[in-house]
Every structure is written in C-alpha cells, then in structure tokens.
C-alpha cells in the first residue's frame, strides 16, 4: 500500500510545525525521513498515525483520500506506528500485550494467539517468551513485540520513530533484517531518524525536513554532504574566534556513566572552566539532558568521579550542588520548574533563606523588578499557568539566584521569538562575564554556534565531539550529530 501526503499543514497556535509537506512513499519501499530537532518529523508522523489531527492537507492510501482522527482508526486502515515511548502494558505478559486490542479474535482462542505470536517471531528471528511480563523486557524487545503486534493487526504501512535509540546492536541488526523482509513482502516502511548511518544503510529513498518543510529528496545511493546541507541549511559565516579566556576549573567529570532516558550517559570526561559558555548539541535524547542532570546532582552516576569547584561531589544530592552554586533550569517549565497556583511574588518569596516570617514587601519589590527586567507580560499576582510558554521561560530565568557559579539550562530559549532569544543571551552572557560557567542544551545549532565558546556533541549517550565554536561549523557539527564524525 503506497501512501501519499499532499500539502500537510499543522499549526499549534502560532507555531507552524508542518508547513505544506508533500511526499510520496511507494509500496514495498523503506523511506527515510531525516531532519534535526524541531524540523517537524515527529508531528508529521503523529499525524500519519492518527495521534494528532492535521490542520490542512490530504492523505492518500493507494491513491484514495482517507480521513481518520484516532490511532485505532488509522490502524484499521492499515497504518501503524512504533512510538519512541512504547504504549504497552508493563504488568501484563508478552502474549497478553500481543492480544490486547484485537477485535473479534481468533476462533481458537488464546492458543491461537500464542501460535500466531510464535510464527511471527520465528519469521523474524525474534526471541520472545510469551509468558514473561513486559516490564522485564529490554527496550529492543518491547519494540519487537510491538512490531509483531502491528503486523498481526494487518498493518501495511509501518512508521518507526527513532527506533534504534537505546537498543543493542544485535537488536538493531534483527530489526533491519525484519524491515527489509517486510519491504520485500510489499509492506511500506517509514523510517524516521537523525542517524545518517542507519538511514544510508537501510532506506531506498530519503526525504529531508527542515523548519516544517521538505528541503530535499534523494534516492539511493546517498550523497552525505548534500543530505547534511538539507538537514542543517547553509552555514552562515563563522563568528570570529574570541581570545582564550580561561578561568579556574569549575566542573570536572571523569569517566562518568549514569542511567537516564533511553541512552543514558556513558564514559563522559570533561573539564569546564569559569566563564565558559558551553553549548550541548545533539538530537533530543542523545544524552545531553542526562549530562545536565548529572552535573546538577539530580541523577546519580553509576561510575566515575565528579568535582565541582574543587570539591568531590560523590554521593551528594541536588541541594548540596545548589549550595555550591549550581542552578538547574528544566525544559518542562510548568511540570518541573514552576509551581502552579503560586504567584510570581510567592515564587520569589520562597527564595528567602532566613527568618520565620516572610518579608512580603521585599518579595513584591523583587517581583516588580523581575517582571521589568525580564519583560514578563504579567503582574506580581500572575500564576505560571496563566502565562504563555515564552513568559514562563522568562520567569524561570528570572528565578535564577544572584551570582550562580554554574548554570545548567535545558533548552533555555525554547518557544521564544528571535528578539527575546537575543535579549536572553545578552543577560546570560553577562553572567558569564562575571565568572559563571554556562552549560546549555539547545535544538538550534545556529544559536549554539553564535553564543557558545565551546560545543559538545552528544550521540547515542556519548560525547563524540568537543570543539571550540570558532573551530567548527554547521556542517561539521551536523555530521557529528548524525553519527558520522
């Protein structure tokens, strides 16, 4: 079954996540979708899978237009998606997960399903024990189960969203063999990834997305530099190299490994000095966020040593880090960073360290100051849930304590317009001038290159590149992000 998307649009408020995307996937092919963070791949796939409703455009299956609004409806039409976070049932067994959600069912009952599962698994050389609880499986095995389940449901178009993150190389090989077999059997596969190596190995054709649009399409054999250019755009003139400005050692990690996310962090060794602005690049979930959380003391490392301004931080928790001058700003502003129901004044009042009574006048004054300085569109009584996403970010930035030594920021300028981004970096850079070292993860490579002194690239849980910003460019970084350098 071939699938065609024509002029797909998706708007989230003012954000135009998919801006007129047209692409055609032929039956029996493996079609790669490449793009960096924020390019719109995830949104497009969720629209195809029925998880999200499109704002405009048409989807055609075998030339006929179709409409659907729910994932189950999409499945009935033959479209199935393997999500990055599997939607399965941890306490139920493999067999039960396989069976759950089927309509009608085999006349032979449970035994029939068991046999079907075994036949499918054998066809792809997967080894799944039907009676084991799913919570005991690895990510790769859960993926295999979901694949088999979708096939058993009669899915003809299979969408895989970043499937090779966090699985073993053996599982990856099995998965690729399975996908090739499916394509040979006239099934259609869409393979969404940021890993060039995987895409080049597997796909017949590739569509590259950038900023919500299709920026290019190519058949195999693939020309890597062109793909990179389509993914990341034409590199602007590199910023001039600033003179070496090395203060004292602020943060040092030695062979630190920690669990977290799908990839965790592996064998990271790094030295950051006072006043450095370090940008962490890499596709979402490649380990930068785990790195930031380990540096904040929120994730405990499994192995390795970490020193903060000369002190060994082994076994200490976030509050000890905070006392040492670390501030962490999470990406999930409302879920992790701010307290719904508390006004801006109350947020500031919480920072008071001494005394039993709250000095409301001071807190109120501080609130006015923050609102003015960070240009938050709200008043001291405003609660975070009433602020827009951009204003929530400004509030979070406004809550940074005076004189931090280390600032760890998860995607600090997400959702801000260009003017605000520029202004925020003005503020942060002044922190750096005062000796604060800043580590931040960011989806925009341009931004990283413009503000950072140094760039670290993360891929599959490891830090694969550590360069000065002036010594690198978009292409170079892009390659590293995609796993090729």
């Amino acid at each position: 079954m071939g699938i065609t998307l024509r002029d797909i649009h998706k708007r989230y408020g003012t954000v135009h996540a998919n801006n007129g995307i047209t692409l055609h996937v032929t039956e029996g092919s493996i079609h790669g979708i490449l793009g960096e963070n924020g390019a719109g791949k995830s949104t497009l796939m969720k629209i195809m899978a029925g998880y999200v409703r499109k704002t405009g455009g048409t989807i055609f299956l075998d030339g006929k237009p179709v409409e659907y609004a729910q994932p189950a409806e999409a499945t009935r039409l033959g479209i199935g998606m393997l999500y990055q976070d599997p939607l399965d049932f941890l306490s139920l067994s493999v067999l039960e997960n396989f069976m759950m959600g089927r309509r009608g069912g085999l006349s032979s009952g449970k035994a029939g399903y068991r046999e079907q599962l075994k036949d499918l698994a054998d066809a792809f050389s997967f080894h799944l024990d039907p009676d084991r609880a799913v919570r005991e499986l690895t990510v790769g095995e859960r993926q295999q189960l979901e694949l088999l389940r979708l096939l058993a449901l009669g899915v003809e178009v299979l969408i895989l969203d970043e499937p090779t993150t966090g699985i073993t190389s053996l599982q990856r090989r099995l998965l690729f063999e399975a996908l090739k077999k499916l394509a040979d059997g006239q099934k259609t596969v869409l393979f969404v990834s940021h890993k060039l190596e995987d895409v080049e190995m597997l796909c017949h054709k590739v569509t590259v997305l950038r900023a919500g649009r299709v920026s290019g399409e190519m058949d195999r054999p693939f020309h890597t530099p062109t793909l990179l250019q389509w993914m990341f755009g034409v590199p602007p003139a590199p910023p001039p190299c600033a003179g070496g400005r090395r203060g004292k050692l602020a943060l040092a990690m030695e062979h630190v490994s920690a669990p977290g996310g799908r990839t965790g962090l592996r064998h990271c060794s790094i030295e950051i000095h006072e006043g450095e602005v370090v940008g962490l690049a890499g596709l979402a979930g490649s380990g930068q966020d785990v790195f930031l959380r380990v540096a904040a003391g929120l994730n405990k490392p499994r192995e390795g040593k970490m020193h903060l301004i000369g002190e060994n931080m082994a076994g200490k928790d976030y509050h000890a880090f905070k006392a040492r001058g670390v501030t962490f700003l999470p990406a999930a502003r409302l879920e992790e960073g701010l307290m719904p129901g508390l006004s801006i004044t109350e947020h500031l009042a919480l920072r008071q360290e001494r005394g039993i009574r709250i000095l409301w006048n001071e807190a109120q004054k501080a609130a006015f100051q923050i609102i003015r300085r960070f240009r938050i569109s709200g008043n001291p009584l405003s609660t975070p849930e009433s602020l827009s996403g951009g204003n929530q970010q400004r509030l979070l930035l406004g809550l940074i304590p005076e004189d931090p030594r280390v600032l760890l920021l998860e995607d600090p300028t997400r959702g801000l317009d260009l003017e605000s981004v520029r202004w925020v970096w003005q503020q942060l850079v002044s922190f750096a001038a005062g000796g604060t070292c800043i580590l931040f993860s960011c989806a925009e490579l341009d931004e990283i290159l413009q503000v950072s002194d140094r760039v670290l690239v993360f891929y599959n849980g490891m830090m694969v590149k550590d360069v000065r910003a002036c010594d690198t460019d978009l292409m170079d970084l892009g390659q590293a992000i995609a796993g090729k350098g």
Partner: protein, 351 residues
C-alpha cells in the same frame, strides 16, 4: 499588601457559588425529607432552634465547635502540602490516649493546673507522633497516606479498646462506658451555669490565629504551598519535600491531638471508645467545603455543629433519625466539589 494575595474572584462570583451550594443542598434535603414523609419546614425549624434556641444549646454547640475546628486547622496543613490525611481520626484518639495517660500519672499530684497543662502537651505530642508515623510510612515505605492513615486509625481504636477493657479498666469489670472518671479538679473549668470551657475556646482561637499566621505569613506555610503545588519544582528551588511532609503531618496530628485532649478533659472527663466522636472525619468535610482555606473553616465548623446538635431533637420531635445532619453535610460538600471544580476549570480555560 494588595499585590501579595492571589487573584480573588469577584464578590458576585463568590455569592453565586455559595448560593448554588446552599441551594443544591437545600433542595436535596427537602427531597429526602419528602421521601421520608416528614415536614421539611418543621425539620429545619427544629435544627435551628435545637442548636441556637437557648444559651445552653449555644454552649453545647461551642463545645462541639472546639474539637472540630482544632481538627480542621490541622487538616489545612496537610491539605496544603497535598496530602489526604484520613488518619486524623486516629490522631485524635492518640492524643486522647496520651492525655489520659498523663492524667492518670498525675492523679495524686496536688497541682491540677500543671497536670492539665501537661495533659494538653501530651495530647499534642501523641497526636503528632501518630501522624508522623503515617508520614514516615509514606516517605520511606511508599505507603499512600490514605491507607497508612486508615490503618493507623484502626490500630489506635484497637489500642483504646484494649486499654479500656484491660490495664485502665474500671475497678471490677471493663465496660463500654470507658475508664473511671477523673477527679473533679482535673476537669476543665467551665463558665458558671453553662457547660462551656473558656480554656477550650481560647485554645481554639489561639490555634486558629496561629495557623492562619503560619500558613499565610511564614516561610514554612509558603513552603507547604509550594510543595503541595509541585514537589519537583519545589525541590529544584531548594525546598525539602520529605522533611516538610513530616512537619505538616506533625502539625496536623498535633492539632488533632489537642482536640482529643479536649474531649478527654473538657467533655467526657474519661477515656471512652468513641472519644473522637467522628470529629476527625467531619473535619475533612469542613475543610473540603471551605475550599481548603482556613478563613472559612471556623464558620463552616460552627454551622456543622449546629446541624449535629440541632438534629438531636429530631428523633423525639419528628420521629426522624438524627443522621439528617450528616446527610445535609454530605450534600453540601458534594455540591461544593462540583461548584469549585467547575469554577477552576473555567479559570484555566480563560487564560
């Protein structure tokens, strides 16, 4: 100060909401009385006159108001930090048991005032301890405070029964009427003529004012609010959720323990199996109806006790069971849940 308080809904909205709640409860109660074949107006009349008709009755209402409001104050702390402290009943009982223990120890002493003071202290500590155990179970054992509290309620009840029928039983045979009465000098003094204890009133007002101050003006109160709103964000801002949970539970249990002590020293003058008189559970309803604000709690508590005291007459006057008061209270809270929930949803949709 105007910039400090949260955005207040307009007076009109508040009146409409209250009207909707009262109206719904009124309608439901009238319907129920209808079904039961009783004259609604007479029922409401007896409820009113039975509670506020004479000074003696008012004194009785105030005597019930004291423990109910004390419990409610405590519950505002635990609700503020986001906990469902169903264990408040057991905390009242634990306080009562502790107070009885102190009173028995000091039975021979010559200074009743000191002993009574120590009894209140003991009750506060007893209730506090009972609550902190539930808090520990939650923090270290992952036991949800609802089930931990429930379990502790039953254990407290079991301990009380054992004491009444065992070590502390009346000379002769243990009976459901409780332990032996304390000597009169250990009874809380009352206003002449009325059975009302000024000490109890003063204590309750003090706890009310003190709690309002702690919750609204201190760092602890704000910390409880922050953690109750978002423990993860609070932790990032430097607060300590686990420690604050224990403090909140300790305060809640302490207030409940004071209520239990009052029941022992000012109402029953001994330990009986039903020493808590269900004030703990009722206080949960009071605080829910007050939308978790301490400012509305005393008035609502007063209203609830009026209903309870007024309903005592119903069996005699109208052959109705006195549980009518409980039905009205339940209907009020259910209506309030709906109104408050609807209002909150409208607020989040508007922004």
């Amino acid at each position: 100060m105007q910039w400090v308080r949260g955005k207040k809904s307009s007076l009109l909205q508040a009146l409409l909401g209250t009207g909707a709640i009262l109206g719904t409860a009124f309608a439901v109660t009238t319907l129920i009385l209808f079904v039961a074949g009783a004259p609604p107006l007479s029922a409401f009349y007896y409820l009113l006159s039975g509670s506020l008709g004479t000074w003696l009755k008012v004194a009785q209402v105030l005597t019930g108001w004291i423990p109910l409001t004390l419990c409610a104050c405590g519950l505002v702390y635990s609700f503020r930090i986001g906990l469902w402290n169903i264990g408040v009943e057991g905390q009242v009982v634990a306080g009562a048991v502790a107070a009885t223990f102190v009173l028995r120890l000091g039975a021979e002493s010559g200074s009743p005032v000191v002993v009574l003071f120590l009894a209140f202290l003991g009750g506060l500590l007893g209730g506090s301890l009972w609550a902190v155990i539930a808090g520990f179970l939650k923090i270290k054992g992952g036991v949800n405070e609802i089930f931990g509290g429930l379990g502790m309620n039953f254990v407290a009840q079991g301990i009380t029964l054992w004491l009444i029928f065992g070590p502390w039983k009346r000379p002769g045979v243990g009976s459901m009427s409780g332990t032996e009465l304390f000597a009169p000098q250990f009874w809380l003094p009352t206003v002449a003529g009325l059975r009302l204890s000024p000490v109890g009133l003063a204590l309750t007002v003090a706890v009310l004012l003190g709690s309002a101050w702690v919750l609204g003006r201190t760092r602890l109160g704000l910390a409880l609010k922050g953690i109750g709103s978002n423990p993860k964000a609070a932790y990032l801002q430097g607060l300590k959720p686990n420690r604050s949970i224990l403090i909140a539970m300790g305060l809640a249990g302490g207030c409940a323990g004071l209520a239990g002590t009052f029941q022992v020293t000012g109402v029953y003058h001994r330990l009986i199996p039903a020493i808590s008189s269900n004030y703990g559970y009722l206080a949960l309803l009071v605080v829910m109806l007050a939308n978790y604000r301490i400012s509305a709690a005393p008035a609502i508590a007063f209203f609830f006790v009026c209903l309870n005291v007024g309903a005592i007459q119903l069996p005699m006057m109208l052959q109705l069971d006195s549980s009518l008061s409980g039905i009205i209270q339940g209907a009020l809270v259910l209506a309030a849940l709906l109104v408050y929930g609807w209002r909150k949803r409208k607020l989040t949709m508007e922004t």
